[in-house]
């Protein structure tokens, strides 16, 4: 958990970039190791939590922790280079120093999913907030029922974690349904073609004793929720994470709120039921 003994709540931990993985032409994953041995040994988080990552000189950006809490010793983040901080983070090489504050926010109630089937539904760059949980569950595989992953992107090139998709595809205890938008497929594409909500409908996972975890752009969420409803999922069976712009991550700076809900403190993980009770401000 967070280091509440540190008086300066804005002070980041220092980490070393241990590995750089290019997921797509503009999405990159960094594996980070805490420089302070004590922090390395004691840093713990839960799937779904996020952190503030800093490129010194450029500032901080908010991303989820994309690695699984079951994999100790390092954390990973995946990001698309779109602004000042992420472009600077992209310049970092193995051995460079990066700042990390966190972990912040709530998390998936993983223990309450024990004994249940899981359906993961993700679109594009939104796989990282589910990937943390996917590996968390795969590392505790016998605690869960069937695991289905429906993942899509605009084109083949936009799919992130390609090496892991392959691994999931090859596993007999995971059902992976991968898709690209119409026109996004190359000649060698061995997955589906179609938008995520449509492909989810076709894959038709049973809602019985099942939890659905959805993450994607607002438009994907909008069209996915009715599909899940049609499959028989109640709003309490569906989880998502919100990714509002944040600065402090500590419930103070005032920008990530959706109505009176502070995504950084009350979220980022919400059920579809909670989502529907919020004003349309996300």
């Amino acid at each position: 958990m967070c280091d509440h003994t540190n008086k300066n709540i804005y002070l980041p931990y220092l980490t070393t970039v241990e590995e750089v993985i290019d997921e797509t032409p503009d999405v990159r994953t960094l594996r980070l190791v805490f420089q302070d041995e004590k922090v390395r040994d004691n840093f713990s988080f839960r799937a779904g939590q996020f952190a503030e990552y800093s490129a010194f000189g450029a500032g901080e950006s908010t991303f989820c922790i994309a690695s699984s809490p079951t994999r100790a010793g390092y954390i990973e983040c995946s990001f698309r280079s779109v602004g000042r901080v992420t472009e600077e983070l992209r310049r970092l090489e193995v051995g460079d120093t990066m700042g990390v504050r966190g972990p912040y926010g709530n998390s998936y109630p993983v223990e309450s999913f024990y004994g249940k089937n899981l359906v993961f539904v993700a679109g594009g760059i939104a796989l990282p907030p589910l990937r943390t949980l996917i590996w968390n569950c795969l590392d505790l595989r016998d605690k869960f029922g069937d695991i289905t992953i429906v993942y899509g992107a605009r084109t083949e090139a936009d799919l992130v974690y390609k090496h892991e998709l392959k691994e999931w595809q090859e596993r007999s205890d995971v059902r992976l349904v991968k898709t690209v938008d119409p026109g996004g497929n190359g000649p060698a594409w061995d997955g589906s073609v179609g938008f995520v909500p449509t492909i989810l409908g076709e894959a038709a996972p049973s809602a019985e004793n099942t939890i659905a975890l959805v993450c994607g752009p607002p438009i994907m969420i909008k069209f996915t929720l009715p599909v899940l409803e049609k499959l028989g999922f109640t709003d309490e069976q569906v989880y998502t994470t919100l990714e509002n712009r944040m600065k402090c991550g500590l419930g103070k700076c005032g920008r990530c709120n959706v109505g009176n809900v502070y995504v950084c403190k009350d979220g980022p993980v919400f059920t579809a039921k909670q989502l529907k009770e919020m004003p349309m401000e996300f």
């Binding site: 300066n8 804005y10 500590l250 103070k252 700076c253 005032g254 709120n257």
Partner: protein, 336 residues
């Protein structure tokens, strides 16, 4: 504790404190503008005008260093800013509309994670409030349940008296300690009448009704009407004693620099703009709605307090004449 202090003794008190190295922050003129700023001499103080900006800066500066960094090759060294370096401060001559906002801000800076930059300054500051004898058309403290003689937030409160001097009343250990440390400058209450206080003219809002309406009207045509002319300049937030949104930015070079907490404003379009290009508050009415909602509903939902003290500054500075008091009054009347 109730005491009396003459104008002359008050000047002496402030000069003694300044000489002792206490940072005495009080309203003074800066290039023709009254601002709460550190005094070099008690004689520089100007108490007959409401400072252009609020007193929150004494605890939450416009721009605050939160750490420094230095890079050498692949290594980065980060240096903490020790809040212990903040000086003992006397915040003097604070209007009730400013002083009353300070305990409201305590809630957000001290819940869950503690912001020691704010809290350590709070611990080291004694607040001396001053009853308000001047109100203008923009003032509406009485409408939000406060008053020109409201002592909320003050450790020691002064009321100007007929015939000169001030009635002093303490509201905390800090206030008593200030009097006890300089007891020869204070005497028994004089019994003189207080000078006539300011009389803000605005009708009182029913804050419960305002909140009840806001609870049900996230979507409402009122928002378009209220803020269609807002230019998103953020001035309202910057002069507000209770607005506290901030940004965190690195300022410096690639080699070395400072990470700072800077004031921000929910009126800025970029405030909630996502990296993807999506913006949940993609229009000035939505941003203005957040401003009203935060002040009269969200902060109340979370901390049981209203984030507005009726100082009227946002009305005075708004370049397009948006009148928050008028809007809240309209909301109050809608909820019957």
């Amino acid at each position: 504790m109730q005491k009396y202090i003459s104008q002359q003794n008050l000047t002496t008190l402030l000069d003694i404190l300044i000489a002792q190295g206490v940072r005495v922050v009080a309203p003074r003129m800066n290039a023709g503008t009254p601002l709460y700023e550190p005094l070099e001499s008690a004689g520089d103080m100007v108490t007959d005008q409401l400072p252009r900006r609020s007193a929150k800066e004494a605890f939450f500066p416009v721009c605050e260093d939160i750490m420094t960094y230095e890079k050498e090759g692949q290594k980065v060294t980060v240096t903490d800013i020790d809040p212990a370096r903040f000086p003992e401060t006397l915040l003097f001559g604070v209007r009730p509309c400013d002083a009353s906002a300070i305990p409201v801000l305590d809630a957000v800076f001290s819940w869950d994670y503690k912001d020691e930059f704010f809290l350590e300054r709070r611990r080291k500051t004694t607040i001396v409030g001053l009853a308000c004898t001047t109100a203008d058309d923009a003032c509406f403290c009485t409408a939000v349940g406060l008053s020109p003689s409201d002592t909320k937030g003050s450790d020691l409160f002064l009321t100007p008296l007929e015939g000169g001097g001030y009635a002093c009343e303490t509201f905390s250990d800090k206030g008593e300690a200030l009097i006890n440390a300089h007891s020869s400058l204070f005497s028994v209450p004089s019994g003189a009448a207080a000078l006539p206080l300011a009389e803000p003219q605005t009708e009182k809002f029913d804050l419960k009704k305002v909140k009840a309406w806001l609870d049900e009207h996230f979507e409402d045509p009122l928002w378009d009407g209220a803020a269609v002319r807002c230019v998103g300049c953020g001035a309202c937030a910057f002069v507000c004693p209770a607005c506290h949104c901030f940004d965190i930015v690195d300022e410096g070079t690639e080699k070395a620099g400072t990470r700072r907490k800077n004031w921000d404003a929910c009126g800025f379009w970029k405030f909630t703009h996502h990296a993807s290009g999506h913006n949940p508050r993609d229009g000035q009415p939505k941003r203005y709605r957040n401003r009203i909602m935060h002040k009269f509903k969200y902060y109340d939902d979370k901390f049981g307090q209203t984030l507005c003290t009726g100082c009227g500054r946002c009305i005075r500075v708004c370049p397009v004449g948006i009148d928050i008091a008028g809007i809240v009054e309209e909301i109050s009347k809608k909820q019957e």
